[in-house]
């Protein structure tokens, strides 16, 4: 049983990093669900939010900086709705996707221009030294990072809140209606512009949370923008339209890649972590195109 300790440690560590992937994937799901747009800029939004927060908190109290960053993300949502989505309404999904790629490059560049491009430390006041759990069960205990635990708790809260929002409020119902059929939603008097503003703002706030978690872990820097690529397999696995799917997809991928590295890595010289998620996603795509939890594609009309 001496083996179990390290395995469990790897597994837990994987789950925790999975939560971080899930936080990014969540932003994608929100926007895709409500506007049918695959928002490639979600990663850039994570970076932008984190940069804004870390630089603002240099000369403002942290709480104020958070509020101000939320305001900035809402303003960004407003600008995207006005300048990108509204003129392109009715266009093909691919065109909207291309537009979000444009937004990505703009945000990456603009963010670094106004906030700087160094690596910034984000300190949330969470103890950096790891916790050791179950020391009486396993020799040396299981190492867990408090930051990861913090991120997991935040992600869990966020998911519960969003589920309630989507399923039990009038706005949430309208969001789901818009997700199903824009034009029909418009025809019953649901204002698309407001809905998009709400959704992009929510996604912006989710990006901020993801940015805080990732930024604390890795430092706030350009590579945060690239974690969007890590969210792609999570989306394929969990389904583009499912909030719980994003979380569970994240957990599976996080734990899966760490375990694969632990077990198979030594046999082939390591490096599995970097491509495992994509292979897993590909396999899922072949078997279940809508993802494990994606909405069933209802064919009848």
């Amino acid at each position: 049983m001496a083996e179990l300790g390290p395995v469990l440690e790897v597994f837990l560590g994987g789950l925790m990093s999975g939560v971080l992937y899930a936080l990014v994937a969540l932003g994608f799901v929100l926007i895709f669900k409500a506007s049918g747009v695959f928002n490639f800029a979600q990663g850039a939004m994570v970076l932008f939010a984190a940069l804004s927060l870390v630089r603002l908190s240099e000369w403002l109290p942290f709480g104020v900086a958070v509020l101000l960053t939320i305001a900035i993300m809402i303003a960004l949502a407003w600008a995207v709705e006005r300048l990108v989505l509204r003129p392109l309404v009715g266009q093909h999904g691919l065109i909207l996707f291309m537009a979000t790629i444009g937004v990505t490059f703009f945000l990456d560049g603009f963010g670094q221009t106004i906030w700087g491009s160094n690596v910034y430390q984000l300190d949330l006041g969470i103890p950096a030294s790891p916790w050791f759990l179950f020391e009486n069960l396993f020799p040396g205990g299981i190492l867990v990072s408090p930051i990861d635990v913090f991120a997991a708790v935040i992600a869990g809260t966020l998911v519960v809140a969003l589920s309630i929002f989507f399923h039990s409020t009038k706005i949430g119902r309208a969001l789901r209606a818009v997700a199903d059929d824009h034009q029909a939603a418009q025809s019953v008097g649901i204002p698309l512009n407001q809905i998009w503003l709400i959704v992009w703002s929510t996604a912006g706030i989710v990006a901020l949370v993801a940015g805080m978690a990732w930024g604390t872990k890795l430092g706030v820097q350009f590579s945060l923008s690239l974690i969007a690529l890590k969210a792609l397999p999570v989306l394929i696995l969990g389904g583009l339209t499912s909030i719980p799917g994003a979380i569970i997809g994240g957990l599976i991928i996080g734990a899966g890649e760490k375990l694969a590295e632990f077990y198979i890595g030594p046999l082939i010289g390591g490096g599995i972590e970097y491509w495992f998620a994509y292979v897993l996603a590909l396999a899922v795509l072949l078997v279940r195109p809508q993802g494990l939890f994606g909405e069933k594609i209802i064919e009848r009309v």
């Binding site: 309404v89 009715g90 009038k170 119902r173 309208a174 789901r176 209606a177 997700a179 199903d180 059929d181 824009h182 034009q183 029909a184 939603a185 418009q186 025809s187 019953v188 008097g189 649901i190 204002p191 909405e295 209802i298 009848r300 009309v301």
Partner: protein, 302 residues
């Protein structure tokens, strides 16, 4: 080839109203006596262009008196849907635009309003092909119709019951996903959803599409009841001329983006040309109104 004969027949048909005439009241004594004198909707000489170049409506005018059922008839591609969307301001999402003319709803110019503002004022469209929200339950679908309302939960709940009383089948299926209900149930759901907005005017686009004749009859019967009991005015676009003219009081026939003929429903039903072209009651094949002189002349007045 008895074009002359046809041309001679047409004037025998009861008074068809001339467009642009100042006299906006419905002119015919054969209209039901309960028709209120107010005009709910007036479309005046509108042109619609898609993609900045495709001219689809070439000067359409029509009028819907309050409390009436008016039908807009025409073959595929005649421009019925375009007309309704021009009214409800849903054209924008299709890159369409009203470039000329005016649309007034209860006397107010509405063609710059957003669709939701129009719904709030009481004009709502039931789109062609039903367009229920597939991943929402039937009841959730109905509730989305109440999005613009501010009169509170109790009023909305009461209207939900009202809708269920007209469509008992929806009540049975209230918890199922709309995507899994039958075509007829989806049409009922779409109409019910529109009613939840407490509309004064419903623009109903091809409710008969893809439904069995019996079901079509059932739906029109309910439309008729809603019109009588709930005082909802309807403008119904239809290809099913036969059914539409039985339930409507007044009809417009659209061809190629123009109104070529209009009149009280029973007059249209008795019209030889309508019989021939739209009711399929003639031995000769379908022709177009364009082939007939008398209608050509009418067109120039528009």
């Amino acid at each position: 080839m008895n074009l002359l004969g046809r041309g001679a027949l047409a004037p025998a048909v009861p008074v068809f109203r001339v467009f642009g005439a100042m006299n906006a009241r419905a002119p015919s004594a054969s209209l039901a006596p309960d028709v209120a004198s107010r005009t709910a909707l007036a479309v005046h000489n509108i042109e619609v262009v898609y993609d900045h170049v495709v001219l689809v409506l070439k000067g359409v005018s029509l009028e819907v008196p309050e409390g009436s059922i008016v039908t807009l008839l025409g073959a595929n591609g005649a421009g019925k849907t375009t007309t309704l969307k021009a009214i409800s301001n849903l054209l924008h999402a299709e890159r369409g635009e009203v470039t000329k003319g005016s649309i007034t709803f209860y006397g107010e110019e509405v063609h710059r309003l957003s669709p939701n503002e129009l719904v709030r004022r009481g004009c709502i469209q039931v789109m062609e092909g039903r367009r229920c929200f597939a991943h929402l339950t039937v009841e959730e679908n109905l509730l989305t119709g109440a999005f613009t309302r501010k009169d509170g939960r109790a009023a909305i709940q009461a209207d939900l019951e009202m809708v269920y009383s007209y469509f008992p089948r929806l009540k049975e299926r209230r918890r199922s996903l709309a995507g899994y209900t039958s075509g007829g149930e989806q049409q009922m759901c779409a109409i019910g959803r529109a009613l939840m907005a407490r509309p004064r005017l419903v623009l109903l686009d091809e409710p008969s599409m893809g439904l069995a004749p019996q079901l079509v009859e059932e739906i029109f019967e309910i439309v008729d009841q809603l019109n009588r009991n709930e005082k909802v005015t309807f403008l119904v676009a239809e290809q099913n001329t036969n059914v539409a003219l039985r339930y409507a009081r007044y009809g417009y026939i659209l061809e190629n983006g123009r109104v070529v003929l209009d009149g009280p429903a029973e007059a249209l039903r008795d019209n030889e040309d309508v019989k021939e072209f739209y009711l399929g009651l003639s031995a000769t094949g379908r022709k177009s109104f364009r082939d007939i002189k008398s209608y050509k002349r009418r067109k120039r007045w528009l």
